[in-house]
C-alpha cells in the first residue's frame, strides 16, 4: 500500500500533466494566432484540436541525429536531466483539499513532504545542468552560447526567487505547501500582503522557465535554437516537454505561494470538506493555474526580448534588492501587526 497508492497518484498526475502540455502547445499557437490576427492551426481534426498529438507522433518517427563532434554520452544525458527534473517537481504540489473516496481520505498530492518548497528550489537548480550540459555537449557555438546564457540567467534569477519565497515562509511558518496554502485563507493572499515579493517571484518564474521576455538561451534570430540546436527527434521533444512542464509547475507554484491556492475570499473554507466543496476548490485551483498559463502566453506575445546586459542588470541590480526589501517588509509586518 505504501507503494501502490503513490504509484496510482503518479500515473494520474503524469497523464494530466502530459495532457495539459499537449493542449498548452495547441493553445499557445492558437492564442498567438489570435493576437496576431491569424487563424492558427485548423487542419488536423476539428478546429485543429489534433494538431499537437499529430506533432508528437511525427517527432516519434524522425531521425535521431547526433553530430559527430558532440560528446555522445553527455549529449544524451542532458535531455534526461531536463525532463526528469521537470516531470518530478509536480509531486510536492497539492491541487485541492483532502477528499473522500470510498470512505478513505485521499490527499490530492503525490508526496506530502515537509520540505516541499525546498525540494522544488533544489530541483529547479538541477534543471540548470540539463541546459548547460546540452549546450556544451553539442560542441556547437550556438548551443554553447545558449547554454552559457541560460545557466548565468537561471542562477541569477534563482537568487531573487529564493529570497522572495522567504517572505512567504515567514507568514506560513512552514516549508510544507499545505501549510502555506492554509495560511492564505480569505483575503490573506500573499499577493496582497507582499506585492513586491509577488512581482519579483513572477518575474523570476518567467526567467527560470526561459519564457519571453527572458528566452535569451534560445533566442532564435541570433542563436538559431540555442542549446537545442543540435537535437532532433524525441530528444528535441524532451526539451520541449520539459519547458512546458516547467511552465505548468511555475504557474502552480505562483498559485500556491501567492494566490491562495484553492482559497477564494468569499468562499468559506470551513465548509470545504463537505459535498461539492472539494470539487469547487479543485476547480478554483485549476482556474487560477490556467489563467496564469494564459498570462505566460499573453506576455510572450506582448513584450519584446531583453538584451543580455539588460537581463543581468535587472536580475542583480533590481530584482535582488527588491526581494530583500520585500523580506524586510514582511518581517516588519510580523513585528507591528502580528499577522
Amino acid at each position: 500500500m505504501v507503494v501502490l497508492i503513490p504509484l496510482a497518484k503518479i500515473a494520474i498526475a503524469i497523464s494530466i500533466l502530459l495532457f495539459i502540455v499537449t493542449y498548452l502547445v495547441y493553445f499557445e499557437r492558437k492564442i498567438s494566432a489570435w493576437i496576431q490576427d491569424r487563424i492558427g492551426p485548423n487542419r488536423v481534426g476539428p478546429y485543429g484540436l489534433l494538431q499537437s498529438p499529430a506533432d508528437v507522433l511525427k517527432l516519434f518517427f524522425k531521425e535521431d541525429i547526433v553530430p559527430s563532434a558532440a560528446t555522445k554520452f553527455v549529449h544524451s544525458l542532458a535531455p534526461v536531466i531536463s525532463l526528469t527534473v521537470a516531470m518530478s517537481t509536480y509531486a510536492v504540489i497539492p491541487f485541492g483539499p483532502d477528499i473522500e473516496i470510498f470512505g478513505q481520505k485521499v490527499r490530492l498530492i503525490v508526496a506530502d513532504v515537509d520540505v516541499g518548497i525546498l525540494f522544488i528550489l533544489a530541483f529547479a537548480s538541477i534543471g540548470v545542468y540539463g541546459l548547460t550540459l546540452s549546450g556544451w555537449a553539442s560542441n556547437n557555438k550556438y548551443s554553447l552560447l545558449g547554454g552559457l546564457r541560460s545557466s548565468a540567467q537561471m542562477i541569477s534569477y534563482e537568487l531573487s526567487m529564493g529570497i522572495s519565497v522567504v517572505g512567504v515562509l515567514i507568514l506560513a511558518g512552514s516549508l510544507r505547501i499545505y501549510d502555506i496554502i492554509n495560511s492564505q485563507q480569505g483575503w490573506m493572499w500573499n499577493a496582497f500582503i507582499q506585492p513586491i515579493g509577488f512581482i519579483t517571484f513572477v518575474v523570476a518564474a518567467f526567467a527560470e522557465t526561459n519564457r519571453l521576455p527572458f528566452d535569451l538561451p534560445e533566442a532564435e534570430p541570433e542563436l538559431v535554437g540555442g542549446y537545442h540546436t543540435e537535437y532532433s527527434s524525441l530528444k528535441f521533444a524532451m526539451f520541449f516537454l520539459a519547458e512546458y512542464a516547467n511552465m505548468i509547475i511555475a504557474s502552480c507554484l505562483i498559485t500556491t505561494l501567492y494566490l491562495g491556492g484553492w482559497h477564494l475570499p468569499f468562499i468559506d473554507s470551513a465548509t470545504l470538506s463537505y459535498g461539492l466543496m472539494p470539487l469547487i476548490s479543485v476547480m478554483i485551483f485549476v482556474a487560477k493555474v490556467l489563467f496564469l498559463l494564459f498570462f505566460f502566453i499573453w506576455v510572450r506575445w506582448s513584450i519584446p526580448r531583453f538584451r543580455y546586459d539588460q537581463l543581468m542588470n535587472l536580475g542583480w541590480k533590481v530584482m535582488l534588492p527588491l526581494s530583500l526589501l520585500n523580506l524586510m517588509w514582511v518581517a516588519l509586518l510580523v513585528y507591528f501587526f502580528k499577522i
Binding site: Y90, A152, I163
Partner: protein
Amino acid sequence: MFNNLAENFYMIEQYIPLILAILVALLFSLFLLKASSLFGPQKPNVEKLTTYESGMEPIRTARERFSVKFYIIAMLFIIFDIEVVFLYPWAVNLKILEDKLGFFIIAEMFVFILILLVGYIYLLKKGALKWD
C-alpha cells in the same frame, strides 16, 4: 528509543512517494531517449553529422575560452545562495521566536542582511556586474 525509531521511519516514509515520482520521471525520460532511435530512420552521412553552423563549414570547435563574466556570476551565485539558505530556518521560525524575543530576532537578521549588502555594494563598485 523505539519512539525515536518510529519517528525516524515517518521521516523516511513521507519521501517514498517522492522517490517513486523521481524514478517514474527518470524511466519516462529514458524511454523517450531510447524511443528516439527506435522508431525513426537511421541513415546518417557525413554531411548530416557535421556541426550546424548556418550552412557554412564549421570553423574550429566550440570548446574554446569564453567570457570570464560567466565564472564570476557563478561564484557570486554560490556566495549569495548560501546566504539565502541561511535565511530559511530563520524565516520558518520567525513567528515563534518573535513572541519570545521581540524585535531582537528581526534586528539580528537585519544585521545579517546589512553585512550581505556591504558585500553587494563592494561588487557593484568593483564592476563585477557590469556587462559590456
